[in-house]
Subunit: 284 residues, 2 copies
């Protein structure tokens, strides 16, 4: 039998000029939900891999980098995060990271696509690691754009864990101003939002930074290289209502990290600091 490869669907200009593929051991699942095509592969380099509408969402090899860097900086910027909302993230990885904090009393995971949760529970249990069964977890299957309007002054941390949005994809609204304004209102006075914002050069990444700056008084960027999203470093954009994210001292992060005693594979207070140094070449 000939070798099989997964090609990522080319989208942006950049991806037209670079093509890559990764060798597949077998296709584990393929199905269509109401919203998107869902596939799971076993690959030689990355291990098990989740793909939505042709775009890689996570792999066993490097999902800890992605999920820890999306969730932990925001959780440690906040002095005492109790109520958390995750929008998207149906695979349960962000949920797992939030629940590591004993300060947390309630997490709502709102994903529009129930099928992603189902498939992830069945084929990617190493991602959620039982987080769906935690007593503090509530699941909502609703459009995040509408669901967020149910809350006022409520969440300490909001995690926005949506796929890179293409112009007509379902996730685009989650990076736009109306949603981010509603998120602002849904957050408590010390509230922090952390958004997966892809490669710094992507249009939706620029849009995210622009919108966060327009709506929130404080913005902060973290970066990390995630191998299954090659060719650029990945960015994570935070917005804050009151806490000045540039003035939360490294020593404070270190102290909180020690006190909350959470276990991480990639994130540490040192990585927190290092990942917040943004190269001048990025011009952000």
């Amino acid at each position: 039998m000939s070798e099989q490869y997964f090609f990522e669907r080319p989208t942006s200009r950049k991806e037209k000029n670079i093509k890559w593929k990764t060798r597949v051991e077998k296709k584990v699942f393929s199905g269509q939900s109401k919203y998107q095509k869902i596939e799971v592969f076993d690959t030689y380099e990355f291990g098990r891999m989740l793909v939505l509408d042709g775009l890689i969402q996570l792999t066993k090899k490097d999902e800890p980098i992605y999920h820890e860097m999306l969730v932990q900086p925001a959780m440690f910027y906040h002095p005492n995060p109790k109520r958390v909302l995750i929008v998207g993230g149906g695979d349960g990885g962000s949920l797992r990271e939030v629940l590591k904090h004993k300060t947390v009393k309630e997490v709502i995971l709102d994903d529009i696509d129930e099928k992603v949760i189902e498939v992830s529970k069945k084929y990617l249990p190493f991602v959620s690691k039982g987080a769906f069964n935690d007593k503090r977890t509530k699941i909502a299957i609703e459009d995040g754009l509408k669901y967020i309007k149910n809350f006022k002054n409520y969440f300490d941390v909001i995690i926005m864990d949506a796929t890179d949005p293409r112009p007509r994809d379902i996730a685009i609204g989650l990076f736009q101003k109306p949603f981010l304004k509603d998120a602002y209102k849904a957050m408590a006075k010390d509230g922090i939002i952390s958004i997966q914002s892809g490669w710094v050069i992507e249009n939706f990444s620029k849009m995210t930074r622009k919108n966060i700056k327009a709506i929130f008084p404080h913005m902060k960027l973290h970066r990390a290289f995630v191998p299954c999203f090659p060719f650029e470093e990945h960015t994570f954009t935070s917005g804050s209502k009151k806490i000045d994210l540039n003035r939360v001292a490294y020593q404070k992060i270190k102290k909180r990290f020690k006190k909350r005693r959470i276990k991480t594979k990639y994130y540490t207070p040192e990585i927190h600091l290092a990942s917040s140094v943004i190269p001048n070449t990025w011009k952000v």
Copy 2:
């Protein structure tokens, strides 16, 4: 006409499981030297690109990240670098970085392959930016393994800018103990060596760290993501005879950076610090 792509020659296990290609506008040069095949392409994503024996060496887009991160940490760890040796680096990028420091009185660039220098001068002048014409520059066309034996207690900084070595490639000896021992002897008492050491997972990268640890009392790793070497971050390994690289304070680097007034695109004292934070997942 159909689209043309450059495929990088697959080498390691990892590269067997991931394949990638980048779109080529035109082939600018192709020739064979005594030692290797030399090619220059214009690409859509990376601009002009130098390829030796099928392996990408540098691209216009990201060579400043590579050359600054190979050269500048070592130059700033040293309080007063006057004499510098570059082994390899026939493109002149490392030479350009070294010459930015006014402390430097003499730089010797020793590349075994004169043809690489010739081709780089002609087709990649944006890399050396006139560095070959600087009065402080001397060129040696000799095998580095032999050439290094001419010096004792002489260089303040040695830059090892060789291609990723494959078992039978010409560069392999530059990562092995005999050469590194000779480099130790060729260095002044405060001497520092900086070595391009590829992806942290590569065998030659592990070998480099092991050999540096065995020969030098101090070792330090820096990392940076260089897009033309995708799928992992790139590493730069330093060894030091006397100066404890882990105890050169950030404030000292900052002070030297300000005093020497050099201009960089990517490297800053903040990046110096951030790039020296190594993820726990790397287990180095």
